[in-house]
Every structure is written in structure tokens, then in C-alpha cells.
């Protein structure tokens, strides 16, 4: 009895589950331990297996008798280094509490249910809504799951965030921008019960929604403006990026959205737009280094597509299976190459051109995206024309600035074989591999064609165990800074368990039930009581739940690099709202490309300096430093989760970077020109509110005003310095303003823009 209680405590503490159970659940409690500690040598990888023992397969494990004979027990409890498992000299570590758990499981009879599938491989079932006590707190279907978990932990949710924090939070989350003062005032004045929901609907309908949501997808799809290897030649893919923004703004259903990107060239109703969508699978890097072996690189491109699909839709690390059977998940090496076969039929070149698009590409009509009926038709790309350059460098004819890369099938597909150790020159030619999906991830419907279109239909099948879960988890991550499954890139056996499994499944089924309605899912999450909580929490709460896994407070997260820049441009009145078009080249440090490559950066002028950050030119080998400093994904491979470390370089950027200094002095000018705001106090208060969305209190204002006075005094003594500061950046300052005052206000604005609060969603 005592043991059961202990176990219950352990489970509640460690597994972070929202289903009530004191029983040891094999899939939830035992297999993750076996996987981590044992599968390296006793797992799915036949080549690495020791002692002919496998502990990942129910039948094999039970037949081996180690579970019941006492051998495994002895191995776990012995202190003899020759007997003890995992071997003390191996890098496998089994924590004492986990070891105890395994021992308890063995002693209790080593129950191993017949259906022992890893949780994520079992299709989600609609969860029953749990009973809760504090029913008045609930706002929608999300909340009972969260509340029931909190109540079991003996905790209550936090009160609702104040209106200002709430509008700021949701405005950033849905559009990547801070609320304007008008939007704030309207919201604060709206006393109707649906004020918040109306604001959410307004934001979901804003074109800025599509721009903002595109960024997560661009990072995951490794979208960039260059090829990414060696000389890192330029390419033209912005047409795909604009397709993405439009599709998000049109709220294209997620299944259609994915199918078009995976197989828009194969759809029965294919057209020019669906063809552009397939650029998704051309965003991978392309090597154009002279001397490269084309066959080797085609393999890399195809493998990248499999890996990207694995991470984005399956939440699985397919990379492992490229060289050997997966160490943890039941994905064999052959499974990898069967998926590979779906993508191995593209009429592409192994070596990229020297600048420009690599085939297949299609010509984009001048008035894109507004196409006539004739222009909107599907186009057959020209077959690649290979030219031999230098001695024997076979390069394709490149597509120019008026083209976009797409997928197009070869007349005759390439043969696909298993590649030993993943190497292009070591095919296992004894067996030709046909396109197929891993059996463990659900059945194939015979009506689907055995090509990318069929693959896309398989991914988006309502019975698929992963796609809906993985996607809704990333949507959750977008709003809360962390997914319900923290390892949003890995739902496999080695991934983290969901903090709220029933909620995850409820959301996944809800997503499918809604007709894969993405905006509806965002709306559901941001209108929940869970999301609307204040992020203010007493120290004890913070300490007991550092990562907010119980969701007992609202999300508090630093803005993304894109949001940080866009918000400061917006506050400065500089942001240019124009949507789409070729990428732009804003300020960069001197010699940014020249110092380490053979290309030089030619900075744009005028409006192009102030476009939203998603349009910033992305050179893969030298990505924009002020974005990377704030943890942007590097866009070399598929990344769905980035960390948020804090470094002094971030401070230097916000204090001194030309873009942020220019923003500060332009914000200062706006402060000075406010109609009716004649006193310094009201001017500073206006600027503070513009940036942080809230009114400063008296103490804060006093501090900033005393700084202002000091700066004015200093600049009066050094009037030249004022002029120098006001010359930072290309936007001329307003000559009707007093330069001493303007410089002093600029430093106050610089302070405000550097506040933790200015770059954070509370």
C-alpha cells in the first residue's frame, strides 16, 4: 500500500499527466525509461543489438524471459559492474527514482499490455471533458482540462490579466505587432461582454495576421533568399512566401494548405497557385560548389524533404533512420527510403546554378498574384538544361528573377534503394524500394495514388495519429511559448510526454472536426480562460513551476526577433505596411558579407529600410545578425523550436544598432509633436504608453523626466553631439524641432525601447 502511494506521488510529480491514475502505465511510465536507458543496445536497431535481447518489442521481450526470470531485476539492482545495467561505463544514465520505478514494475509482474503502442502512434480520441470544481472560471473547452490538472495539484488559476496586458498579448500573438493607441482606447472603452472576442476577430481578419503566422512556417520550411552552401548563391522564392501569407490570411483549411504544398503539381484541380505552393519542398539548401558530385547532392535534397516532413508533420526525427534503423522509434531504415522514394522523382539538378533558380522552375506572370484565367493555369516547367562549365562542372541553366522553383515529376522516376550508412554511393541494389509510409503510423488507403499526392492525403487523413497533434501543439507553442508536448520537434519515444495529454487529444480532434480551421484554433486558444490569465505570479508559484507546465498563469515571453524590430519601427512611425514582393535589404553592419564571403551587401534605401522583418533578405551563411542575436532559426534545416537565451549582445543591439537608434529618435520626434501634449511629462507618458501599451506611473515618469532634463543640459553644453546623434540612420530629422530637445528625448526613447517590458508579452 505504501508503495502505491509513493508511486502515485512520483507519477504526479514526474509524468506531468492530466489523467488520473495510480497504476503503472507501461506506455507512459515504463517505455520512456526503457527507451532512454536500454534501447541503444536492446532496441529497434538490429545492427546495434547486444545479447540478442530487444526490449522494444513485446513479444521478443517476453519470450526472452528476462522480465520474469529475475534476470532484469538482478541487472537493475546489482552493484557488480559486470552485471549492472545499464553498464556503469556506458553513457546511459538511469536516475535512481527511475530505476526504482522499473524495479517496482518488474516486481509487480512486468505488465506489458498487448496494445503497447507509444502514445503518439495511437490516433487521438476525443477526450471526455473532466469534472472540475471552479466551474465559473471556465470559458471554453480548453479550460476544464487545465483546471482539473491545477485542482489536482491543489492550485488555482491566476486571475484574468488586465485589459491592457491582454490586448497587448493577443495583438502580438496574432499579428506580431503591438496594439495602436486607438486600438487600446477602443478596447478599454468597450464595455460589451464580447469586447475581447471582437478584438480577437478583428486581429484574425487583419492582413498582418498572415504576415505574422508566415514566420513560424518560414522558419520550419527553411525559407531563404540564397542557396546556403559555400558561395551561397541567390535564388528567388518570395513568390512562394507571398503564396504562404495569402493562404494564411484566406484561412485556407490546413489539409488543403498542406496538400497544395506537398503535391500541388499533382492535384486533379491543379493550377498555377497550387504549383507555386510546392516551392515548400524546394526551400532546402542547394549546393552549387564547383567540383561537387551531382548524385551525392540530389540524395541530400531528397533526404532533406523527408526530414522536414518528419519534423513538421510527424514530429519524428527521421534523420536517424537515414543511416540505420531508428534507435528508439519503430522506424526502420527501409521505412526512411520508402518515404524517400516519394520525393526521389523530381526533375532537378544535383549541382545548383551560379545564382538564380535551380530547375524545375516556372515563369511568374508580371501581375502576380492577380492572374488572368489563362495565366492561372498549370504550367509545365522546361526540363533542366545542363551546361558544362569550367572543365567538367555540370550546371543547369538558371531561372531568373521572374521565376519561382516548384516540384515537377520526372517522366521516369529514379530508382530508390536503401543507402548504406546514408551514403549516395552505397545503394543496396538487391531490393528496389517502392514509395510507402511506415506501417506503425497508420494504414494506407488503397484509393490514394502512390505518389506525393497520396502521401499528402495520408498525412492529412483524420485517422493519422500525428499530423493534427503535432500541428495543434505548435499552435499552442506559438501562444504559450512552449507546447503541451515540450519537444515540439519530437513526439517519438524519446520526446517529452504531453503535460496535458487529454487536452492535446481534445484539441487535435477539435482541429479535425472544425475542418482543419486554423483561425478557429487560434481563436479557441486565445479566448480560453487559460490564455487570459495574468502572468503575474507569486515567487513560490514561479519556483514550484518554473516553466509553467501546469498553466496556472498566463504566458510571459520575450518577443521574437521579428516582433522586436517591427514593434520599434511601428512605435517610431517608420513601419511601411506594404505587403509581399521581393525581399528587402535593411541596415546591416559594414562589410557584413564581404568580410567572410565573395559577395557584398548592397543596402536598400527609403521605404525598403522600414518593411516588416519577414521581408528582410535572408542569406543563409550570413543571416541577419540582429535577428540571430535574438534567437531566430538559421534557416539551414527545418527548425520548429528555438531557445530564448539572454545575452549581452542583445543589449548592445537594442542600445546601439542603427535601426534601433533611428527608431528612438523618430519616436522622440513623435513625442515632441503630439498635439496638445505640451508638457514634457505628457510627452514622455505618451511615448511610454505607445511602446509598452500601458500608462507609466508617477515614479517611472519622474525617473525618465529627470533623465530628460539631464540629457538636455548635457546636449546644451555639447550641441554638436546632439546633431551627431540625430544623424544616425537615413531618415532626416524634422528641422522644425529643437535639436537639443530632440536628442534628449531620443535618449529617453532609447531607454523606453530597451525596457524589458517593451520586448516582452506579459
Amino acid at each position: 500500500m505504501r508503495m502505491t502511494v509513493l508511486l502515485l506521488v512520483l507519477l504526479v510529480m514526474n509524468s506531468g499527466t492530466d489523467t488520473q491514475s495510480a497504476e503503472i502505465d507501461f506506455a507512459r511510465d515504463i517505455r520512456p525509461l526503457l527507451s532512454d536507458a536500454c534501447y541503444n543496445c536492446h532496441g529497434p536497431d538490429a545492427k546495434a543489438r547486444e545479447g540478442d535481447l530487444r526490449l522494444d518489442d513485446r513479444k521478443a521481450a517476453r519470450n526472452s524471459n528476462v522480465l520474469t526470470s529475475g534476470e532484469m531485476l538482478q541487472r537493475l539492482t546489482s552493484n557488480d559492474p559486470d552485471v549492472r545495467m545499464p553498464p556503469p561505463d556506458s553513457s546511459r544514465v538511469l536516475r535512481p527514482t527511475d530505476r526504482d520505478k522499473l524495479v517496482q514494475w518488474l516486481k509487480a509482474g512486468a505488465a506489458w499490455p498487448e496494445d503497447d503502442r507509444h502514445w503518439a502512434f495511437v490516433p487521438p480520441r476525443r477526450s471526455t471533458i473532466p469534472e472540475v470544481q471552479q466551474r465559473e472560471w471556465l470559458r471554453n473547452g480548453v479550460d476544464p482540462f487545465v483546471l482539473s490538472r491545477l485542482e489536482r495539484a491543489g492550485r488555482s488559476p491566476s486571475p484574468e490579466a488586465d485589459s491592457v496586458a491582454l490586448l497587448r498579448r493577443v495583438t502580438f500573438d496574432l499579428t506580431g505587432l503591438p496594439p495602436t493607441l486607438d486600438e487600446l482606447d477602443t478596447f478599454l472603452a468597450d464595455s460589451s461582454p464580447n469586447a475581447y472576442e471582437s478584438a480577437v476577430d478583428r486581429l484574425l481578419n487583419s492582413p498582418n495576421y498572415g504576415e505574422h503566422m508566415a514566420l513560424d512556417w518560414m522558419e520550419a520550411s527553411r525559407y531563404a533568399d540564397t542557396d546556403g552552401y559555400q558561395n551561397d548563391r541567390l535564388r528567388y522564392m518570395w513568390v512562394w512566401r507571398d503564396w504562404l501569407i495569402r493562404s494564411l490570411n484566406d484561412n485556407k483549411s490546413f489539409d488543403r494548405f498542406v496538400i497544395e504544398q506537398m503535391a500541388g503539381d499533382l492535384l486533379p484541380d491543379r493550377n498555377f497557385h497550387t504549383q507555386v505552393a510546392t516551392g515548400f519542398n524546394r526551400n532546402h539548401r542547394i549546393n552549387s560548389e564547383g567540383g561537387s558530385i551531382p548524385d551525392e547532392w540530389i540524395v541530400e535534397y531528397v533526404a532533406d524533404r523527408v526530414e522536414t516532413m518528419g519534423t513538421m508533420f510527424l514530429g519524428l526525427t527521421m534523420t536517424c533512420s537515414r543511416c540505420h534503423d531508428h534507435k528508439y522509434d519503430p522506424i526502420e531504415q527501409k521505412d526512411f527510403y520508402r518515404l524517400f522514394a516519394f520525393f526521389n522523382n523530381i526533375a532537378e539538378a544535383g549541382l545548383g546554378p551560379n545564382n538564380g533558380n535551380s530547375p524545375p522552375f516556372i515563369k511568374v506572370p508580371k501581375n502576380w498574384p492577380y492572374l488572368s484565367a489563362g495565366e492561372a493555369k498549370f504550367v509545365v516547367p522546361e526540363p533542366p538544361r545542363i551546361k558544362i562549365q569550367q572543365v567538367s562542372v555540370p550546371r543547369p541553366q538558371s531561372g531568373g528573377a521572374d521565376t519561382v522553383m516548384v516540384l515537377h515529376e520526372l517522366q521516369k522516376p529514379r530508382n530508390t534503394y536503401l543507402l548504406q550508412r546514408g551514403q549516395y554511393d552505397r545503394p543496396e541494389k538487391s531490393e528496389l524500394l517502392r514509395p510507402a509510409t511506415p506501417p506503425v503510423l497508420g494504414a494506407w488507403n488503397k484509393s490514394w495514388p502512390r505518389n506525393r499526392l497520396g502521401l499528402a492525403r495520408w498525412l492529412m487523413s483524420p485517422k493519422h495519429p500525428l499530423t493534427a497533434r503535432v500541428t495543434i501543439n505548435r499552435i499552442w507553442q506559438h501562444h504559450f511559448g512552449m507546447g503541451l508536448v515540450k519537444t515540439s520537434e519530437n513526439f517519438g519515444v524519446q520526446g517529452d510526454l504531453p503535460s496535458h495529454p487529454a487536452l492535446l487529444d481534445w484539441l487535435a480532434t477539435e482541429f479535425i472536426r472544425s475542418g482543419w480551421n486554423v483561425k478557429a484554433m487560434h481563436r479557441l486558444i486565445v479566448t480560453s480562460a487559460t490564455y487570459r490569465q495574468s502572468s503575474i505570479a507569486p515567487p513560490a508559484t514561479h519556483e514550484s513551476d518554473v516553466e509553467n507546465r501546469l498553466l496556472g498563469r498566463g504566458p510571459r515571453k520575450r518577443l521574437s526577433p521579428y516582433e522586436i524590430r517591427d514593434a520599434s519601427l511601428r512605435s517610431a512611425g517608420l513601419l511601411v505596411g506594404r505587403m509581399g514582393g521581393p525581399s528587402v535589404k535593411p541596415y546591416m553592419p559594414p562589410g557584413i558579407w564581404r568580410s567572410i564571403s565573395n559577395a557584398s551587401y548592397k543596402q536598400d534605401k527609403g521605404d525598403k529600410l522600414y518593411r516588416r522583418s519577414l521581408y528582410t533578405y535572408w542569406r543563409r551563411t550570413v543571416p541577419p545578425p540582429s535577428m540571430m542575436i535574438f534567437n531566430a532559426a538559421a534557416r539551414e534545416t527545418c527548425i520548429v523550436r528555438t531557445d530564448q537565451t539572454t545575452t549581452p549582445l542583445q543589449a548592445l543591439t537594442l542600445m546601439n544598432n542603427v535601426a534601433f537608434v533611428e527608431a528612438a529618435r523618430m519616436l522622440a520626434a513623435r513625442m515632441m509633436k503630439q498635439e496638445g501634449s505640451l508638457s514634457p511629462r505628457s510627452r514622455v507618458a505618451w511615448g511610454f504608453r505607445l511602446v509598452t501599451s500601458r500608462e507609466p506611473n508617477a515614479g517611472e515618469l519622474d525617473l525618465l523626466l529627470s533623465d530628460l532634463a539631464a540629457y538636455q543640459q548635457e546636449f546644451r553644453r555639447q550641441p554638436k553631439s546632439a546633431g551627431t546623434l540625430l544623424a544616425v540612420g537615413e531618415m532626416a530629422f524634422d528641422p522644425t524641432l529643437n535639436t537639443i530637445d530632440l536628442a534628449a528625448y531620443a535618449l529617453v526613447a532609447n531607454t523606453i525601447l530597451n525596457l524589458d517590458e517593451s520586448i516582452t508579452q506579459n
Binding site: S91, Q230, R285, N287, E289, G290, G291, I293, C320, K327, Y328, L351, Q390, S392, V393, P394, D425, E489, N490, Q494, A537, H542, V546, R556, P589, P590, G591, S595, I596, N598, T621, V622, P625, S626, M628, I629, A634, T645, T646, T647, P648, A651, L652, N656, N657, V658, V661, G699, E700, Y711, E714, A722, L725, V728, A743, L747, T751, N754, L755, D756
Partner: protein, 481 residues
């Protein structure tokens, strides 16, 4: 050299000295939002590290980008002169290891080095003529002639050397070191990257990923010092703004941020305040660091005429020593221009003119200061070059293509035996004949000298424990003291 216990005791003592002495990594640790972080000691290293008493406290890696030609520098093959113009036998050089830049050539004639070689130092190590400064310190150097790699193109080959994998997205060696061992200096990053161009003006491009943190937390990425503009990106206050004004601004910022911290109780805010203070200190420490003109004339002379010219290799070597003195743990230099496809002898000579003197000066300078014993200096590029001629062969001019099967590296100081050569190549300098050293072996050895077991410094990513050396790497024990 400190013993392991002393090192650990030091780390604990520092814990009592408070925040101001903490390194970059340690302060960033204040951001507790990431609970998957492992426990760290007072200087921001992982507890339990180093795994054993280190021989080297720091590494200076002089990466020679483009692929220096081993047979024109270290791998002396006198008898090949007789085989001038003969075909390299297929049995020695199979076609599939040739790049497509030359694989279409009809002929693969032997191009013997035109460099004059002689023996140097007490050890009598063979060196080609353009390396006359290195020759003077060669008894401190261990030349490895048996390096080999798989990659034959620059990008994957350089990425493999710097990150342990040809696949993008893995952490660089310096970021692994910072992640594992933390920082010895409160005011400078643990890992610094420096790049230079020489006479060639251009060369193989470098990529941010070479000093990137990959999947490690972003704060471990190398901080690149720039040859143009601010030495560290946005280090200086905007023109017209004084340090006193910046101090005032930071005081207010910190007070305003503290109000937020009191409200939200989020430790991330305290971290941000600390990072602004560190940034302010860096604004002092970095300009002091780069004032190389304050070095004595004899030191400047030793590094040669370009020692005070920002962005040159000589300047970067001198800066490397100054960084090493200040406790920066991993100093990664890149010098471009070794990709000698055309006139190889001329290009090698001019590369040596730019690099030989500063390289030797660095070794001598470290030694004079008693720092060579605990500073590991590594020299080498991403691969070697072919013995067969690329393009037209004359008795003065030849070109060489990329060659992965054998090439030369050297190491000095940091517990590596000086005055020795290790490994041998075959008669053609095409394949390793004896004691092969793979890229992963070199990495394992560098980590070993820092007191790190390369198999035990791992990071979990996508459910797998990754390490610098993937599943490979053996420490080259024979070259260690």
C-alpha cells in the same frame, strides 16, 4: 598545471564571490526558464567538468581555409621529382575520390612540389622554404601528416572540422567547450571567432554556422570580432552619446526593470538586467583588449608589419594572444585564401608571406609569457590537395584540386609533444600509410587536452544525446606529453 580537485575547489570558491565575477555563461544561467539546463558551477561550466585534470586551459585554432597543400608545406616527397608528369596510378588514386572539377581530366600527371625543403630545429623536421619563421619554433610543434576526412568540397569539409558533422545545425567545437567548461572572464565571451583575408583578398567563404551554437542554447555561439566598424557588433554607443549618458540610461533602465521584476517575479528579468551591465562592461573591456598598439615594439615587430592593421592575420594572432591572456577559452581564427587550384606554388608562397611570421610569433609570444604550456595551438584547414596536377603542368606552375585522403595539421603547446611528426603518407602523398588521424580524432584530442572526455560531453536534442564527435573519435595519445 592545476589538479582536478584544485580546479573544482576554485570553481566553488568563486561561487562565494558573487555575481560580478561570473562569466558570460554563468550570468545567462540566471534565466531559469530553461529547466532542461544541467547544473552549472560558478563559472558557468557544467558541474562535474572538467572530467579530468586538463593540460590546456584554452585553445587557439588557426584555421587555414581553402585547404593548404600538404606536399608543398610539410609532407616532403623528394623522390617524386623523378616522376614529374607521370600518371598517378589508378591503384593509388581511384577516380571516385576526385571532385568533378578534375574528374573529367584526361590525364592525372604527378606534379612534384617545386618548394625547397630543409630540416629544422633539433628535431630536424622537414619544412618548405616559405615557412622560415615556423622553422625557428618547430621544436615546439607536433606535425601530423596523416590527417584524413571524407568531405571533398569546402562547405561540408569545413563544417565537419568545426562541428563534427557535414550536416548543418550541429554546435561548433568552441560552443561545446563554452557549454561544458564555462568562462574564465566575466567581461568577455568564452568563445571568440576572428576572420582575415590576406594578399588573396578573397577566398573560400566562411559561414556563421562554423562558430554557431547549433542546437545548444544560443548564448554559447562564438562572438565574432569584426574587421570593420565596431569590433563586436554594436559595441559602441551611437555617435554623440557619452559613456556617462549611457550609465545614466542604464541606471534608469535597471530601476524600471526591477519594478517589473518585483511585479512578475520572473527571474528572466534579473538576467536581462545583468546582461545590460555586462554589455556596459564589455564596452570598456573590448576597446582595451583591441588596443594592440600598446604592445611593446619588440612584440609588434615579432608579429610583423601588419600587426596593428585590423582584419589581418597578424593582427588576429596578436589579438588571439591578448584574448588568451584574458581567459577566453576558445579562440577560433580563420584565414582565407588557401584554395590553390591554379598557380599553387605562387599562392602557397603568398599565403605563407601573410601567415608564417605571425603564426610563429604567436607561439614564441605565448612561450615567452609562460602560456604555451597551457594553451593548445592548432593549425590546419579543411582538407589537403592533390598530387596530380589540375590544369596544365609545367616545371614551374601547377594547380592542385581538393584532396581528402591525407593532409597535414600541426599542434603546439597545451600538453602536446613538440618537435615530433606523427603519421606517414604513401609515396605520392595520396593516402595515409601509417597512424591515420581522422577529423573526429583531432577533435577528441583537443577536447581531451581541455580535460573533457569527448564521449561524455553530450547534449540531448530531438531525443538523442549528441556529441561533437558523433559516434567516432579516438584521442591520439602518442602525441601527448
Amino acid at each position: 598545471m592545476d589538479t582536478l580537485n584544485e580546479i573544482r575547489a576554485q570553481q566553488t570558491r568563486r561561487a562565494f564571490l558573487g555575481r560580478s565575477t561570473l562569466g558570460l555563461g554563468a550570468i545567462a544561467l540566471g534565466s531559469l526558464a530553461h529547466a532542461d539546463e544541467r547544473p552549472r558551477n560558478a563559472i558557468g561550466g557544467l558541474t562535474g567538468l572538467p572530467h579530468f585534470a586538463p593540460k590546456a586551459k584554452r585553445v587557439i585554432y588557426l584555421f587555414q581555409s581553402g585547404g593548404p597543400a600538404q606536399m608543398d608545406l610539410f609532407d616532403y616527397k623528394p623522390h617524386l621529382a623523378e616522376r614529374f608528369g607521370e600518371e598517378v596510378p589508378k591503384s593509388v588514386y581511384p577516380d571516385e575520390r576526385k571532385t568533378t572539377m578534375t574528374s573529367g581530366q584526361k590525364s592525372f600527371p604527378v606534379a612534384p612540389s617545386t618548394m625547397k625543403f630543409s630540416r629544422h630545429g633539433q628535431s630536424g623536421i622537414w619544412l618548405s622554404e616559405p615557412q622560415r619563421h615556423l622553422a625557428e619554433v618547430i621544436d615546439d610543434v607536433c606535425v601530423i601528416k596523416s590527417m584524413h576526412t571524407e568531405a571533398i568540397n569546402h562547405d561540408p569539409a569545413a563544417t565537419l572540422f568545426q562541428t563534427g558533422s557535414v550536416i548543418a545545425g550541429r554546435p561548433s567545437m568552441g560552443s561545446w567547450v563554452g557549454y561544458g567548461l564555462g568562462s574564465e572572464n566575466a567581461n568577455l565571451p568564452a568563445f571568440v571567432a576572428l576572420t582575415s583575408n590576406g594578399t588573396a583578398k578573397a577566398g573560400q567563404p566562411l559561414y556563421d554556422r562554423l562558430w554557431g551554437a547549433g542546437f545548444l542554447p544560443g548564448r554559447f555561439q562564438g562572438v565574432k570580432f569584426r574587421g570593420q566598424g565596431d569590433p563586436i557588433l554594436d559595441l559602441y554607443n551611437p555617435a554623440g552619446v557619452t559613456r556617462e549618458q549611457r550609465r545614466r540610461m542604464l541606471d534608469s533602465l535597471s530601476r524600471l526593470n526591477n519594478r517589473q521584476a518585483d511585479r512578475f517575479n520572473d527571474p528572466a528579468i534579473a538576467t536581462r538586467i545583468a546582461q545590460y551591465e555586462l554589455a556596459f562592461r564589455m564596452q570598456m573591456s573590448v576597446p582595451e583588449l583591441i588596443e594592440v598598439q600598446n604592445e611593446s615594439k619588440s612584440v609588434l615587430d615579432m608579429y610583423g608589419p601588419q600587426a596593428t592593421r585590423v582584419g589581418t592575420y597578424a593582427y588576429n594572432c596578436l589579438l588571439a594572444r591578448r584574448l588568451a591572456e584574458r581567459g577566453v577559452r576558445f579562440i577560433q581564427l580563420y584565414h582565407r585564401g588557401w584554395d590553390a587550384h591554379g598557380n599553387t606554388p605562387k599562392q602557397i608562397s603568398s599565403q605563407c608571406r601573410d601567415t608564417d611570421q605571425p603564426t610563429a610569433a604567436l607561439l614564441r609570444d605565448l612561450k615567452q609569457r609562460g602560456m604555451l604550456d597551457d594553451t593548445l595551438v592548432v593549425w590546419g584547414g579543411e582538407f589537403g590537395r592533390t598530387i596530380y596536377c589540375q590544369g596544365k603542368l609545367t616545371n614551374k606552375i601547377y594547380g592542385r584540386d581538393h584532396h581528402p585522403n591525407c593532409f597535414s595539421y600541426w599542434m603546439a603547446g597545451g600538453g602536446v609533444r613538440g618537435g615530433m611528426t606523427y603519421g606517414e603518407t604513401d609515396d605520392y602523398s595520396v593516402n595515409v600509410a601509417e597512424n591515420p588521424v581522422h577529423v573526429h580524432d583531432l577533435q577528441a584530442t583537443i577536447m581531451h587536452q581541455l580535460g573533457v572526455d569527448h564521449e561524455r560531453l553530450t547534449y540531448r536534442y530531438q531525443g538523442r544525446d549528441y556529441r561533437l564527435t558523433d559516434v567516432h573519435g579516438k584521442v591520439v595519445k602518442d602525441i601527448l606529453i
